[in-house]
């Protein structure tokens, strides 16, 4: 049975149909890529699935249960966690504390619990600090555990965001452009991390990406949307040869190496710095 099942999902903003009758299903343990030109509706689709926005029409099922319209903080408890396209961190906190906040669901956080500060509460806190450290090690940034998030290099910031999202122990992780603006080295680290998420943690991943190389290498299947509609779906080989997909990106081929894989970087302003860094 599919872990995530989206049926006829539509999201309108006034007259604009950002997501138009999209259906897709993601199997447990899958790494799914979600591609499409700028403004195609990828982030909006994430917003609706993760409960940040309510859909205009359609149904979403997670693990066999209907989660349509369930708000984000409630979905997080059920194991659906998302990251953001534009960096979201707690900049004034250390790396470790950023991850610690991610573990919020496992903590006793009430006002009264704080006042009493019982030995049990303190033990719990220590336990969570250990767990946060373990996550920091897992994503490979333990050398910087005590630095402020604001001072991290860009690549580390993106990785830290994934680390924070691991706090609620997700079963389904929605990553919105995790390698945006990264240099090649950092892209490889992130993709290794995405594979580790599945291999070592059993997390199902859906990731939006403009970096085709990364998507093709890591994803089992790819869904392509344009103008809010799904236009193609399949294995990386199939999708990259699909005429409608190629057409969607027409004019943005990477001519230099004659690669049939369309290069979408040139669309994306946020990716400009990746060329500088590379």
């Amino acid at each position: 049975m599919a872990l995530l099942e989206v049926q006829g999902l539509t999201k309108r903003f006034g007259g604009l149909v950002a997501v138009n009758d999209v259906s897709l299903s993601v199997e447990p343990g899958e790494i799914r890529g979600l591609i499409g030109p700028n403004g195609a509706g990828k982030t909006t689709l994430f917003n609706v699935i993760s409960g940040a926005l309510k859909p205009s029409a359609g149904r979403i099922r997670f693990d066999g249960r209907d989660i349509t319209g369930v708000p984000m903080h409630a979905l997080v408890r059920r194991g659906v966690v998302r990251t953001f396209q534009h960096s979201q961190l707690f900049p004034g906190f250390t790396v470790l504390r950023n991850v610690l906040i991610g573990l919020h669901l496992h903590a006793g956080s009430g006002f009264l619990e704080g006042l009493v500060n019982s030995p049990a509460t303190r033990r719990r806190r220590e336990e969570l600090e250990d767990r946060a450290m373990e996550i920091v090690r897992f994503v490979g940034i333990s050398a910087r555990a005590h630095e402020l998030a604001a001072t991290l290099p860009h690549g580390y910031k993106r990785i830290l965001q994934v680390a924070v999202a691991l706090g609620p122990t997700p079963r389904l992780l929605l990553l919105d452009e995790p390698v945006a603006g990264m240099n090649h080295e950092d892209v490889d680290r992130m993709m290794d991390l995405v594979r580790d998420l599945r291999e070592k943690r059993g997390i199902t991943v859906v990731l939006v990406e403009h970096n085709m190389q990364a998507v093709m290498n890591v994803c089992d299947r790819i869904t392509c949307i344009q103008f809010g509609r799904k236009i193609a779906e399949g294995t990386p080989e199939v999708v990259s040869q699909d005429p409608t997909v190629i057409e969607a990106y027409l004019g943005t081929f990477d001519d230099d190496d004659g690669d049939p894989v369309p290069n979408m970087d040139s669309h994306d302003a946020s990716n400009v710095d990746s060329h500088d860094a590379a």
Partner: protein, 312 residues
């Protein structure tokens, strides 16, 4: 360890030094400091989340009015009505918070500001039982009456000190616990916090209610200390001055609101002899401190300490 010793010494001084003070005016200023510290510290807890309420004087007024009516009309004993002032303010803050927290940024200021004015307006409009613009006088002092004689302020000071210490302890503990850490995280990034399951509106509401509760407690104490309350006291200006205490003291540490409230209560008194220039000098000091210490007094102290550690 040294900070524990310093704290113990400070508490001892707060408890013992006033015994040697016979000047009632000095004791009165110390009571005022207690009131202002309570207001500043409780408001600071809400400030951690990035919210600033301009309605704290309204909650203080509700606390003061509640205890006054309970004692004067209901003939309740002081020690029972005192906490009820705080509870009433806390209860009122729940719907007020729910409403005002729906709006963001500057609109939140405006809604809380409006709330404070509505409280004043209601109490001023209804002569019976709220006393109208004249307010209510002859509010009985705490019991036992022999001890709390309005001509001798020392017992009032000790009561104020105990209430202040309770407020500080609760707020400090809460700010250090997971609860407080989540409040900070909301200021740092509320979207990210909600994405990992933090009930952001719930935490904001909790902080709002706690702040209102202690403002109500301060109001209760105020009523019995001054024996007189009126809509001319719990004004928007007072709410603003609480914010000024916090900003001048420093938003980023617990000591900030305390230091700010103490310093800014003392400064106008020190310049009282200058007569009509008193408020002018106060204003100049205020502007000067904000320009030279953007992170408040505590921020400047921390920077100075960090520099000393580095240079030694």
């Amino acid at each position: 360890m040294t900070s524990r010793l310093a704290l113990a010494a400070l508490l001892a001084a707060l408890a013992l030094v006033p015994l040697g003070i016979s000047d009632q005016y000095v004791l009165h200023i110390m009571v005022m400091i207690c009131l202002n510290v309570m207001m500043a510290v409780s408001m600071w807890l809400l400030g951690i989340t990035g919210l600033i309420s301009f309605g704290q004087a309204g909650f203080m007024f509700i606390g003061a009015m509640t205890t006054t009516l309970l004692v004067k009309l209901g003939h309740w004993p002081f020690w029972v009505s005192l906490p009820f002032g705080a509870i009433a303010a806390g209860l009122v803050s729940i719907p007020v918070g729910r409403l005002s927290l729906r709006v963001k940024g500057v609109y939140f200021f405006l809604v809380t500001l409006a709330f404070g004015e509505v409280v004043r307006g209601v109490f001023a409009y209804f002569q019976d039982p709220f006393g109208g613009w004249y307010g209510i006088r002859d509010i009985p002092p705490p019991e036992p009456a022999k001890l709390f004689d309005t001509l001798h302020k020392l017992p009032f000071y000790y009561l104020g000190l105990v209430l202040t210490l309770i407020t500080c302890l609760v707020v400090y503990r809460a700010s250090r616990a997971w609860f407080g850490m989540i409040l900070w995280s909301i200021r740092e990034g509320d979207l990210l916090a909600s994405s990992v399951g933090v009930n952001v509106p719930g935490f904001k509401l909790a902080a709002f209610v706690v702040a209102a509760f202690f403002a109500g407690l301060a109001g209760s104490f105020y009523a019995h200390y001054f024996a007189y309350i009126s809509p001319l006291v719990f004004t928007f200006q007072y709410s603003v001055s609480i914010l000024v205490f916090i900003v001048v003291g420093g938003f980023n540490s617990f000591a900030g609101p305390i230091v700010g409230a103490v310093v800014l209560t003392l400064i106008p008194e020190l310049f009282r002899v200058t007569g009509k220039y008193q408020m002018l000098i106060f204003g100049l000091i205020l502007v000067g401190s904000m320009l030279t210490m953007p992170d408040g007094i505590m921020g400047a102290v921390q920077r100075w300490r960090a520099r000393r550690v580095r240079s030694s």
